[in-house]
Amino acid sequence: MAPVVPRSGDAIFANVERVNSELFTLTYGAIVRQLLTDLEEVEEVNKQLDQMGYNIGIRLIDEFLAKSNVTRCVDFRETAEVIAKVGFKMFLGVTASVTNWDAEGTCCSLILDDNPLVDFVELPDTCQGLYYCNILSGVVRGALEMVSMKTEITWIRDMLRGDDAFELQVKLLKQVPEEYPYKDDE
């Protein structure tokens, strides 16, 4: 039997159900706006966006694994490339690039030049300190945790704060040994 070949981000994206990204962008914007009204503190909103992202990421990983045919990544370098080229593409329709590797190969940056979450978005001055796209850091963190990688994720650059790109630093803290994914009592 022929080995299962991992599918490219473009191929997967072409085959999934897609929606107008304007609806997505506006919905996300309305959510952030509502959270700012209800939670008041920018730091709290950052925290909740990350938490929401985490909750999404721990589920989205299943769809990713099912559709991408990606088998276990050899190392963290491969993991980062897969997130950037396949993960981002099949969900957000854009690819990221991976740079700034440290010597041990446990820390890198994901760079997004193009980000549907922020189309037509401008932050008012009252939102100092807001990480508008913080849901993304949660999604990556949650997804990686489901494949046994504990990470710390920080924003290095943010286009809504005047930078020229979105740069998300992903640091691998711990890789737990592989466990059987389905517990008997589930």
Binding site: V16, R18, E22, L23, T27, A30, E63, L92, G93
Partner: protein, 168 residues
Amino acid sequence: MVREVSESCMDSLLTEIVSSYCNRFYANKPELAARRIEAIGYQVGHQLSERYTIERPRFTDHLEAIKFICKDFWSELFKKQIDNLKTNHRDNKFRWLSRMSGDPSEISGAAQDPSTMSENKAAQATGMHLYFPCGIIRGALSTLGIPCAVSADISNLPACSFVVRIKV
């Protein structure tokens, strides 16, 4: 070429915001949670309606506006057709039918069997999800000059009815 994202992005985002408002921010206050979710939808409907009508002449009457929302606007948004539009001129009530996305058996199971706490939450969540499209419709119509109240009727899943009551 219109920019797109995966449908699962939209679904995940909605599921998560409903869950956050119902289980975290306003746990045990479903009416407050519902209002927030509807408000999010309203904002979206308002902005989309403005965008879609920028190059169009104003609508001549309510029915024209509602038909626009039903047809072009709705299918652009949700890539689904509204199946049916019934009007009730005396009460200024319009009823749309739309197929709900997601696994029908899962959704109807949740709505019909409230015997356990977790299933209650699921039923609530199904209803809660719909505050979002209700808000979108209300926001879009309000922006077109038609103040209204919008509610969803899920007694006939997987069909979903949106009832629009125009305020006179």
